[in-house]
């Protein structure tokens, strides 16, 4: 079943669109890597997939017209982990992660339920920020903040998770743990509207090797267009990568691995 379906869509921040005439379908259980050079429109594509930008064209989320959906319904299906940014007010890690429960919490003036608290503790533990739960976001290092935001994203408990360079600022150990965590998560399902939906992932990854461990499919963006959408491993073996990045990626990666093998 397709969860996100985009047809002939254009979107951007001003009158000149960043993305032009994009078509993309993400089905249940898929893991999609979004790649491309700097400024190609990868982040914009993620924002579009989370229905955060005004667009022209067609977009359906789980067979419903995205332009008529409520934020609450979209956010129960799709969570987006943004790139880190400046924090103005000093929430603690656990307060911030709890905010991710917004769509799941009982509405009104009730406090968090036992389930909310349990989920928050679990995702903080999974993302390695449980020990930091009483620290203020403003006191965290870039990598710690990244993990706190990741925890908040998973606290939302959506079947679809979109990640914007989740490995940013993370040291190698946490990057490896993150990949492992995502691999495990991909094997599970999440309930949405009373149905169990296989967990689905799309993300902008800079490290092609890490992406390849998680994602079968690679979507490459260049100059606001999707230039390649195929099996990720296959695209490694073709000339696609070199064309997308205007650079001999494959030789570079081979030299790199030769260095490690020697």
């Amino acid at each position: 079943m397709s969860l996100i379906e985009i047809k002939y869509l254009s979107a951007g921040y001003t009158k000149t669109p960043v993305l032009k005439d994009i078509s993309l379908t993400v089905s249940e259980g898929e893991a999609v890597m979004i790649g491309g050079p700097n400024g190609a429109g990868k982040t914009t594509l993620l924002r579009v997939m989370a229905a955060l930008l005004p667009f022209e064209g067609e977009m359906t989320l789980e067979d419903k017209d995205a332009s008529h959906m409520k934020r609450r319904d979209i956010a129960s299906l799709i969570a987006l982990m943004p790139q880190t940014q400046e924090m103005y007010f000093s929430y603690t890690v656990s307060q911030a992660v709890m905010l991710g429960r917004y769509v799941r919490m009982r509405r009104g003036l009730y406090g968090p339920s036992a389930e909310d608290k349990e989920t928050v503790d679990r995702v903080m533990n999974d993302c390695g920020v449980y020990e930091l739960r009483h620290r203020l976001l403003s006191e965290l290092s870039g990598g710690q903040l990244q993990r706190a935001l990741l925890a908040r994203t998973f606290a939302q408990q959506t079947p679809v998770v979109l990640l914007d360079e989740p490995g940013n600022n993370l040291d190698i150990k946490f990057r490896a743990e993150l990949t492992e965590y995502l691999e495990t998560w991909m094997e599970g399902t999440t309930e949405y509207n009373g149905k169990k939906i296989k967990n689905t992932l799309a993300g902008v990854f800079h490290d092609l090797g890490e992406a390849a461990r998680l994602c079968r499919r690679g979507v490459f963006v260049k100059d606001g267009k999707i230039v390649s959408d195929m099996d990720l491993k296959e695209s490694f073996n073709s000339k696609v990568l070199n064309e997308v990045y205007d650079f001999d990626v494959i030789s570079y990666k081979r030299t790199e691995s030769a260095f490690w093998n020697s």
Partner: protein, 350 residues
């Protein structure tokens, strides 16, 4: 550093935070009593209590309390202190809301031009001599709302990212511009000059129970509406895009809250004139003491803003007694250095 340690402690233990809140409410009540009692005429606590009791229960005053005391304390000082408290609370809550919506601890109705817009609205009603029931608060609110809409539209037109600094700067520009128009009006209608000038600087002089009756219901209803949106306010401090991604109908929430906080400011301006800095100082202090969560921040801002305003009014009417200092001058003398401190301390971090 002691300060941050203390902050963390309060943030950490719920019991500590609750105790802090209860203490704050008690301290606020004590401040109100002090504000009512202080002045050239002395009253014992017992006499004050019997005056209040006689009005609440409708029984006649006990013989030992002079009728003059009743008129000084029940008719003059009590409503004045209460209006100051309510106005301070309203302004602090509206400041806290603006700060969350614009993700900027320096935002407030004052820096956003709402106050000066509301003041201009009130001045136009005053000068034109139209008198209809509730025309003053309603016009203040409408003019304040129009100003904030213009400021936001202008910001969006100039800076497509609507960055926070741009909003604040444009708000300041509009604020000064509208104040210019006010000065112009004040000179043009010189027979209203004194009244308009008082309005621009703010005053609680001669405020009575009618003013309490105007502000109280607005304060209670608007603050309750804001409290209903505390979860959304928490999320909105992370920016509009993240709020949408987390499931908040940002446009709807933002519209409702900007209207509510303009009503709070508008009603304050219509009874007391323009008073700056309370909306900036109170939420900031509360955040330092209790953390940024809005379900605590909003009610505590009301308490701290109200107490701060009542104290400022006490200073305004006693320091140069029998002359009064405009309340806006008192809050600015305390608030302006504070504003600078917050701005530069925030900068060092970034």
């Amino acid at each position: 550093m002691e300060n941050t340690a203390e902050k963390k402690n309060i943030n950490k233990s719920k019991a500590g935070r609750r105790a802090g809140m209860i203490l704050s409410v008690i301290a606020c009540f004590v401040i109100l009593v002090i504000c009512i009692r202080a002045g050239s005429v002395y009253i014992s606590l017992k006499d004050l209590a019997s005056i209040v009791a006689s009005h609440v229960t409708g029984k006649p005053l006990p013989g030992e309390v002079a009728p003059m005391m009743d008129s000084i304390f029940w008719t003059i000082r009590m409503p004045r202190a209460l209006v100051a408290f309510l106005v301070g609370g309203c302004l602090a809550v509206s400041g806290a809301v603006m700060q969350a919506l614009l993700q900027n601890p320096l935002a407030s109705s004052y820096t956003m031009g709402v106050s000066s817009g509301a003041c201009l609205g009130a001045a136009i009603v005053l000068v034109s001599g139209i008198s209809l029931p509730f025309i003053l608060p309603v016009t203040s609110f409408a003019a304040g709302l129009i100003t904030v809409v213009i400021v936001l539209a202008f910001t969006a037109a100039i800076d497509k990212m609507s960055s926070n600094t741009t909003v604040i700067l444009i708000g300041m520009v509009f604020s000064l511009f509208v104040t210019g128009i006010m000065n112009f009006l004040a000179t043009l209608y010189s027979d209203h000059y004194k009244r308009l000038w008082l309005w621009m600087m703010g005053s609680f002089s001669a405020r009575n129970w009618t003013h309490v009756a105007i502000v109280l219901p607005v304060a209670v209803i608007c603050t309750l509406i804001v409290i209903f949106f505390t979860r959304e306010l928490d999320i909105m401090t992370f920016g509009e895009e993240q709020s949408k991604a987390m499931g908040v109908e940002t446009r709807k929430v933002k519209t409702i809250l900007i209207i509510v906080s303009s009503i709070l400011t508008g009603v304050s301006v219509s009874v007391a004139g323009v008073i700056g800095f309370v909306d900036l100082v109170a939420p900031h202090v509360v955040r330092k003491l209790f953390g940024p969560e809005h379900r605590v921040l909003i009610p505590m801002s009301f308490v701290y803003g109200g107490a701060f305003m009542a104290l400022c009014d006490l200073i305004a009417r006693t320091v140069l007694s029998p002359q009064e200092i405009p309340i806006g001058a008192v809050t600015a003398l305390i608030g302006a250095p504070f504003f600078a401190y917050v701005f530069f301390a925030g900068r060092k971090k970034g």
